[in-house]
């Protein structure tokens, strides 16, 4: 009764959760521009699916289904260890689900002589369970012992391992305890045994104690041969459903371990308790599935299939928006992307977890759900999205086939349009945006870079260079000291303001009125820095428009490493800007 009620409750919660989650794919979007009424998006999705399935693309879908979904070819390409880990868990669990949990539906219809305690089914059940445990052991090894750099393990990963472990271990314990259970034996005898008088019952019981692992409170070995022979005779009807329990090797091991305590544990109701734990754990897993890592069972195949046949040029933009939200659910936090990320190592110096692709996905999930993120979290996410060289490796290795590159492109633009100045745009990290200029909204393209160039000065004091008198006591001695001690900046002190650097600068030469366009020119930056006029320096556009061509440094007669000094000043500005908005 309790079992049936909990099953139905679990199914209902699962169904509600599933509907809710799927609805978010049609309700959320990465940017306001992509949003549209859910009904329209659902219609577009149905149209897209129907059109694809009834076309030549069905062959692509079948190929992806077999190779990438069932055989996990993408994982195999990256790591044999990870492939084994996942195949063991997923293969073992699916087989247990079908052949054991759903035995009354699946196994019974497939095999006419099916019985749970009969071989090969009894052996296979333990074998599949062992597969899952072996996979879980590999998973634990990978996450906790392999010390893979920057691999992050979240609560969702721990939950997945724990729920599977509880289900498997409670199953094995239950099996072992049932083998020894005297009360269970008695129930079976009452229901099925043909035996009549007490002597015959004793003979049967003796056999079962000797050969089937039952622990009887009264009967203990050694047993006389005639008794066992009589028992074997009576057992003839039992063996049509019962193979020797040794074949359930793990359960039998548990049974042997528990034997000394078996009678007491049985009286205390341990079998019933373990059974409850076992099925409740399964039902918790089922009910919580749409909200847990296990949701990837449904979403990852969808992502692999969708991305095999969709592309930016020909797919309906509504479907792309829907697919992108679904992709966020398809990520199962395996960390492949982070392990291959070209800038992953930068995390060691700039500890913003959003640099790591796997963590970016998690942050985007929070963003699209409409959860109010504070400005600092948004800023960190924006920075993490920009600190990317668009090398395409994360997208190439994702075993869920998620088009990460497009997620980054769209998420980046969505965040930049919120109007938070992004310092990283003042670097070659902007190149990708520049090269994708044709794909971006022209009137929104130049804004973000211009915004940060204009506002960076606002982080420092406004200086009117022509009309202000400088207070010598207010000069930034820290800047001078820092430059002097830095690898890139220390040569600034050799400058005797000959202006060769400025004469050699192609950026200066590009403007009719350089001072107007640039604020300061190179030799003035060196001179201002030497005087500790940091606010004047950081306000100068020249600092950000320097192309790093090194003509100034190459031609300086004094050996001032001019371009390198400018780089050092840029780095110092970054630290100051971020000190005002401190990083993690």
């Amino acid at each position: 009764m309790f079992f049936t009620v909990s099953l139905y409750v679990a199914l209902v919660v699962f169904a509600v959760g599933l509907v809710y989650k799927v609805s978010t794919w049609f309700r959320y979007s990465l940017s306001a521009a992509a949003a549209d009424i859910p009904a329209k998006r659902m219609l577009a999705a149905v149209k897209g699916i129907v059109r694809t399935v009834f076309s030549a693309k069905i062959l692509t879908l079948l190929k992806v289904l077999v190779l990438e979904v069932l055989l996990q070819s993408r994982t195999l390409r990256e790591s044999l260890l990870r492939w084994w880990m996942h195949m063991l868990i997923y293969g073992g669990f699916m087989l247990l689900l079908l052949m054991h949990a759903l035995e009354k539906i699946v196994s019974v219809s497939l095999f006419s002589a099916y019985y749970a305690t009969l071989n090969p089914f009894m052996f296979l059940r333990d074998f599949f369970g062992l597969m899952v445990l072996a996979g879980l052991a590999l998973a634990l090894y990978r996450r906790y012992f392999m010390k893979l750099p920057r691999l992050k393990t979240a609560v969702m990963d721990q939950y997945a391992i724990i729920i599977l472990a509880v289900i498997m271990l409670s199953g094995f314990l239950l099996e072992g305890v049932k083998i020894t259970s005297y009360s269970r034996y008695q129930e079976m005898v009452e229901a099925y045994a043909d035996a009549g008088d007490e002597e015959e019952l004793k003979a049967l019981e003796s056999l079962w104690v000797k050969e089937y692992g039952v622990v009887s409170p009264e009967l203990k070995g050694p047993f006389a041969d005639e008794v066992l022979a009589k028992g074997r005779e009576l057992n003839e009807s039992c063996i049509s459903c019962h193979s020797r329990p040794q074949w359930a090797f793990l359960g039998y091991g548990v049974a042997k371990t528990f034997t000394p305590l078996a009678v007491g544990l049985d009286k205390a109701g341990l079998p019933a308790l373990l059974w409850t734990i076992h099925f409740i754990a399964c039902f918790i897993g089922l009910a919580y599935l749409p909200f847990s890592k296990m949701f990837h069972i449904l979403t990852t195949p969808l992502s692999l299939l969708a991305n095999a046949v969709m592309n930016r040029e020909t797919s309906d933009p509504l479907n792309i928006a829907t697919r992108q939200i679904m992709e966020l659910d398809a990520c199962m936090h395996c960390g492949s992307c982070t392990l291959r990320c070209s800038v992953g190592v930068v995390f060691e110096e700039i500890p913003n977890t959003n640099i790591l692709p796997s963590e970016k996905v998690g942050a985007l999930k929070a963003l699209v759900s409409g959860k109010p993120l504070d400005e600092r979290s948004l800023k960190l996410l924006q920075e993490g999205l920009l600190l990317c060289t668009n090398c395409l490796r994360c997208t190439g290795v994702c075993p869920a086939g998620i088009n990460l590159q497009e997620l980054w492109l769209d998420a980046r633009e969505a965040l930049l349009q919120k109007g938070m100045p992004e310092f990283l745009l003042l670097s070659p990290l902007s190149l990708y945006r520049g090269l994708m200029r044709g794909r971006l909204d022209e009137d929104r393209y130049a804004g973000p870079a211009r915004l940060v160039a204009d506002t960076i000065g606002s982080n420092f004091k406004e200086i009117d260079a022509q009309n202000q008198t400088f207070d010598p006591t207010a000069l930034d001695k820290g800047l001078v000291k820092h430059l002097g001690g830095s690898a890139l900046g220390s040569t600034f002190k050799y400058c005797f303001t000959c202006q060769t650097c400025t004469s050699a600068c192609p950026v200066v030469h590009n403007y009719e009125r350089p001072l107007e366009a640039l604020g300061l020119v190179p030799h003035q930056i060196i001179h201002s820095a030497a005087l500790g006029l940091s606010d004047l320096v950081y306000n100068a556009k020249m600092l950000w428009l320097c192309v790093g061509c090194y003509q100034c440094q190459q031609q300086c007669p004094q050996g001032v490493r001019v371009a390198d000094v400018l780089y050092e000043l840029k780095n110092r500005a970054f630290k100051k800007v971020n000190a005002m908005k401190p990083l993690v």
């Binding site: 800038v343 110096e349 668009n390 190439g396 745009l425 090269l435 690898a487 890139l488 192609p506």
Partner: protein
């Protein structure tokens, strides 16, 4: 010597043909190389942002190369400049090296700044040699005017790069001329292409490019030739966008040196990716004999 090819981040999306043409000519010239899957971004774009992040990025790559006892071979000027510059800094500053190695130790890596780092042009000129390459040519070019574009980061700062004379370099010109093409003199030859500020201030970036393109056209160039990922992107992709935006310009296509040499070596055009260049470069065939 064993080489590990150091590939440059933007090529996967924007310049696959540079990867395929480089691999093709190295194979043709009998140079063995490995791909180190674990290589990360050299750190060039981070130079504007954070010094330690910039140094750590290149240091990790140097450590990976040292681990496998290989030299690093790169076909991008920016990667070349970054890795060499960082290696120089690490040689000069023991404390910096110590810091970096403390971080790298977490991954079981250690950086010893004694890795040989070569640019592709260097490898062709010094390791293989002009004569060897010339002997393998099956086609040459006739009446082809090439405006050879070295690129800033290959030459400067010369005390660290030590690639060639920074004022009057000749290596790239020699490599171009073995194919039979003429490497013409042009005033703005050693100027910056403008790529570093593309995306930051597109007008400035286009102005810098325009200056060079106008000059090369005036000097009679049929093609530009580059050996850097960023310069090629600027003269190819960005020039195309420039023409769309600013108009009034006859396209002056840029060919990668590996594509030019590859044609000379008789390699298949699909492998060289000539058709993948944004500005139509197929016209180069007219000059081939």
């Amino acid at each position: 010597m064993n080489f590990a090819i150091f590939r440059c981040c933007p090529t996967s999306i924007f310049l696959k043909q540079y990867e395929s043409s480089t691999d093709a000519i190295l194979r043709k010239l009998g140079i063995d190389f490995i791909d180190i899957k674990e290589f990360n971004c050299c750190g060039y774009p981070l130079k504007n942002i954070d010094f330690k992040a910039y140094v750590l990025s290149s240091a990790r790559n140097l450590a990976l190369a040292r681990q496998r006892n290989v030299a690093m071979l790169t076909f991008c000027n920016c990667c070349y400049n970054t890795i060499k510059h960082v290696q120089h800094l690490l040689r000069e500053d023991a404390a910096l090296l110590g810091d970096v190695n403390t971080t790298l130790a977490k991954e079981g890596l250690q950086c010893t700044p004694d890795v040989k780092v070569l640019h592709l042009l260097e490898a062709l000129h010094k390791e293989i040699g002009i004569e060897t390459i010339q002997a393998k040519l099956v086609h040459t070019f006739k009446d082809l005017n090439i405006a050879t574009h070295y690129g800033c980061h290959l030459l400067r700062p010369a005390d660290i790069m030590q690639f060639d004379n920074p004022i009057a370099p000749t290596i790239f010109d020699q490599l171009v001329e073995i194919t039979g093409a003429r490497s013409i003199p042009w005033d703005t030859k050693l100027d910056c292409c403008g790529s570093p500020v593309w995306g930051v201030d597109d007008d400035l970036s286009m102005d810098l490019s325009a200056k060079k393109l106008d000059d090369a056209a005036r000097a009679g160039a049929d093609f530009l030739c580059s050996a850097c990922v960023f310069c090629q992107l600027q003269f190819d992709r960005v020039q195309k966008m420039m023409i769309a935006k600013r108009g009034s310009r006859k396209p002056l296509p840029s060919i990668l040196y590996t594509q030019l040499l590859g044609l000379g070596l008789g390699l298949d055009e699909t492998e060289l990716g000539i058709a993948q260049n944004e500005l139509d470069s197929t016209g180069i065939r007219r000059f081939m004999v």
